[in-house]
Amino acid sequence: MKIPILRLDRVLLVSIQADLSDNDAMEFQSDLVTRVAEVEALGVAIDITALDVVDSYMARVINDTASMVRLLGAEVVICGVQPFVALTLVEMGRDLLGADCTFNLGEGLALLRQRIAKRGDVRFTEDEDV
């Protein structure tokens, strides 16, 4: 199952709707990273509202993806972590999301916008050539 990556200007939006197989997860990761580099994204929102269960592998994939995206110079937020998911992740003792989390996508995008506005490359948009 391929996860669509939506683009809103220079913000990318991915919503994980169902449990991913290991292969799908890897594919998702490399797709997203490639896309971030392609559009020189400034921010990425990963929505996991629809996930009721996040196992340690999936948590790691999300975490790694966030690190990669940050290395490529984009801000990351993770949206809609369910209470039960949060609980299991804490119990697993994993520092799941090194990235910041928000209740829902709307707040996630607001946070991204706020972060992006603070950045140097956006403050100098007068001479944007992209």
Partner: protein
């Protein structure tokens, strides 16, 4: 003469040549019999058959092949280029002795002396030339090393270190050293580390980078990394390498913007005119001043 060289075609001379090689040539494998024998035979054949003058370009394939195989060994192991020449001249002396034995005494002593002087001159010329050339190469490679890691002063208190090519241990320590010196010299508050030119990001490169970054931070500068490729980002993360609190930007351009922001500067168009129009008149002073920024600590990391 042909008949004389016919008499010399025996392998006793080869053995004598081989025994008489100087000790230094022996260590580099020049005395290997399997290499010497074909060379000896080719030289003898050449002496017997070839009409003078002897031109380098028309040397028969058998001779050049044998010579190449013989010379390759010391060339690879780092021996001096004079060694095979000394060995060859040894053979020449041997042959000269044999020829001399068959010629009038007066002629042979004169010939021997003449040969010795010119052999010595040849060697000396060669050695001097090689020494000068080597010194030149050393100087060039040293300056190449310096050239390959320039620390550029991008703006007041902003440094740019564009990394190009493979980062190995030796280069890494040199990079770190020159970067730290520059940071102190210019009191840089921000340093941009551009990795666009680094072909492969692996564990060792990442570790070197980490050390450089940590050392730079200790001096009180902030680091902005730029130009990491998607593959590079994936590799680094999968290797479990985290550059915590290092700001990373996709392009050098974004990195420069970020760095300027940190020192309270900005790039703005001249006057309020359209961005594409180039002012044709006298230079217009910028009306938009840099935003007033509270001075940053600089030490914050």
């Amino acid at each position: 003469m042909t008949s004389l060289f016919d008499q010399l075609q025996d392998t006793a001379l080869l053995d004598e040549w081989r025994q008489g090689l100087p000790a230094t040539t022996r260590s580099t494998g020049l005395d290997t019999r399997e290499l010497l024998a074909p060379l000896y035979l080719a030289i003898m054949k050449e002496l017997k058959d070839h009409e003078p003058p002897f031109a380098l370009a028309e040397a028969p394939a058998a001779l050049t092949e044998a010579l190449r195989a013989w010379v390759a060994a010391p060339a690879r192991t780092g021996g001096s280029p004079t060694e095979p020449i000394v060995a060859l001249l040894g053979l020449k002396q041997l042959l000269l002795r044999e020829i001399g034995a068959r010629a009038p005494a007066e002629l042979s002593t004169a010939l021997a002396r003449f040969e010795r002087v010119f052999d010595a001159l040849t060697l000396l010329t060669f050695e001097t030339f090689a020494a000068v050339r080597e010194r030149l190469i050393n100087a060039q490679s040293a300056s190449l090393m310096e050239l390959s890691t320039p620390v550029l002063r991008l703006w007041h208190q902003v440094l740019l270190l564009p990394l190009i090519g493979v980062v190995d241990t030796q280069r890494a320590s040199q990079i770190t050293e020159s970067l730290l010196e520059a940071i102190v010299q210019y009191e840089a508050r921000v340093t941009i580390l551009d990795l666009s030119g680094v072909p492969v990001l692996d564990t060792s490169v990442a570790q070197h980078l980490m050390k450089t970054i940590d050392a730079a931070r200790l001096l009180g500068t902030r680091i902005v990394m730029t130009g990491i490729s998607p593959e590079g980002a994936q590799t680094l993360t999968k290797l479990g390498i985290r550059f915590n609190d290092v700001i990373s930007r996709a392009t050098l351009r974004a990195g420069i913007a970020e760095a300027l922001l940190m020192v309270g500067r900005r790039i703005a168009p001249l006057s309020g005119a359209g961005t594409t129009a180039v002012p044709m008149g006298p230079p217009v002073l910028p009306t938009t001043l840099p935003p007033a920024m509270p001075p940053r600590g600089g030490q914050a990391s």
